[in-house]
């Protein structure tokens, strides 16, 4: 074996040492963020993130629904009225006379009446039935607009301050409040101690 000076021989000996191609590939893979190991780690991480996200969304929903204010009174009435109108249950009495309605719906705690807001309009009474608004017995009167042919529901119930406070009163020169529900517009107002709710086709 040939000799050389120490420095040169050691350098040559060390420089002869080299990683094999497979060792190099393995080390390159370790460094590669897209390596299988990293991918698996990323998958695992993603799984945890997804689980965490589900919990966050669930918590947010619970938080949102628990913290968000309930529907306002007029929205609740509008929603109930719209739902009943869409169901359009059969009339218990078919008449164009308010007097006949009063004589038929005797279980009510109030006397159904015509509203000043509808006086002189083209809407014609065609009948009525019992129903309820917010758990209080009510009359559901059906009107038909002779000009448009549109059928509308006019709900009437006794005005209970404890239940219906805050709704506009005609006697106080307030205008009906309009809420929208299920594609319908519902006008709500209080008149002469009676709560009125009238469905209309939503023209918006």
């Amino acid at each position: 074996m040939s000799k050389g000076n120490l420095k040169k021989v050691i350098r040559e000996h060390v420089e002869k040492q080299a990683l094999s191609e497979s060792q190099l590939e393995s080390l390159m893979q370790i460094q590669n963020p897209n390596s299988e190991t990293e991918k698996q780690a990323a998958k695992k991480q993603f799984r945890w993130i997804a689980i965490a996200a589900v919990f966050v969304v669930a918590f947010a929903n619970v938080f949102y629904f628990s913290m968000s204010p309930e529907l306002t009174l007029d929205q609740r009435i509008g929603s109930e009225v719209a739902k009943n109108h869409i169901n359009l249950k059969p009339l218990e009495i078919e008449t164009s006379s308010m007097q006949a309605i009063r004589g038929f719906l005797t279980e009510l705690d109030f006397m159904p009446m015509e509203s000043a807001l509808l006086a002189g309009s083209s809407k014609r009474l065609i009948g009525g039935r019992y129903c309820s608004i917010q758990g209080i017995t009510a009359a559901q009167l059906r009107l038909k607009d002779d000009q448009s042919g549109q059928v509308q529901s006019l709900y009437q119930t006794v005005y209970d301050k404890k239940v219906f406070s805050g709704l506009p009163q005609l006697e106080e020169n307030k205008k009906p409040v309009t809420v929208y529900s299920k594609g319908l517009a519902v006008d709500i107002w209080v008149e002469k101690g009676i709560l009125f709710a009238l469905t209309k086709e939503n023209k918006q």
């Binding site: 000799k3 120490l6 021989v9 040492q17 080390l27 460094q31």
Partner: protein, 167 residues
């Protein structure tokens, strides 16, 4: 990310310390993994990984009790245990073959191996080595003197094996 050439360079450094192919690879692999996992952003990544390799190697030697610990006193004394006229050149001029060089490397202490790497492979001067490994120049000279002595003693059975310059 280290390219293949840099990985080879780091592997040779590991080999200079361990004098064993498998140990060198294990040492390098562990250092690279730790470097990547720790997401370290070093100004000089190669130097940083070399330091990681060296520290890990020292740790392993300690675990295996391969390192003879020297007291501070001994280390300080090293500065004085080489002749005043000692010339590092005399180490370079020793004539050896590859087997002898390998045996010499294996007989060195871990810190001596690092000095040998810096001197023979990196081509650093004693001052540069002292600066790099943060030890006094006298300590480096002392260790180099000791390495030369070790080499001469190791092959003293057959004086024709090692030829000193000018002899």
């Amino acid at each position: 990310m280290f390219d293949k050439a840099t990985l080879q360079q780091l592997y040779r450094y590991s080999y200079s310390l361990t004098c064993d192919e498998h140990d060198a690879y294990d040492l390098l692999q562990t250092a690279i993994e730790k470097y990547i996992q720790a997401k370290i952003i070093a100004n000089q990544p190669v130097a940083y990984v070399k330091k990681m390799i060296f520290h890990r190697y020292i740790d392993e030697c300690r675990r295996n009790k391969l390192v003879q610990f020297e007291s501070i006193e001994t280390e300080n004394q090293e500065e004085t245990i080489f002749p005043a006229d000692f010339d590092v050149q005399t180490l370079e001029e020793l004539m050896v073959n590859e087997d002898m060089a390998k045996q010499l490397l294996q007989s060195l202490e871990p810190d001596e191996r690092e000095i040998m790497y810096c001197w023979a492979i990196e081509g650093f001067s004693t001052s540069e080595i002292a600066e790099k490994i943060e030890k006094p120049k006298g300590t480096i000279l002392s260790k180099i003197y000791r390495m030369r002595k070790k080499l001469l003693e190791k092959f003293s059975d057959n004086s024709s094996d090692v030829v000193e310059a000018g002899k």
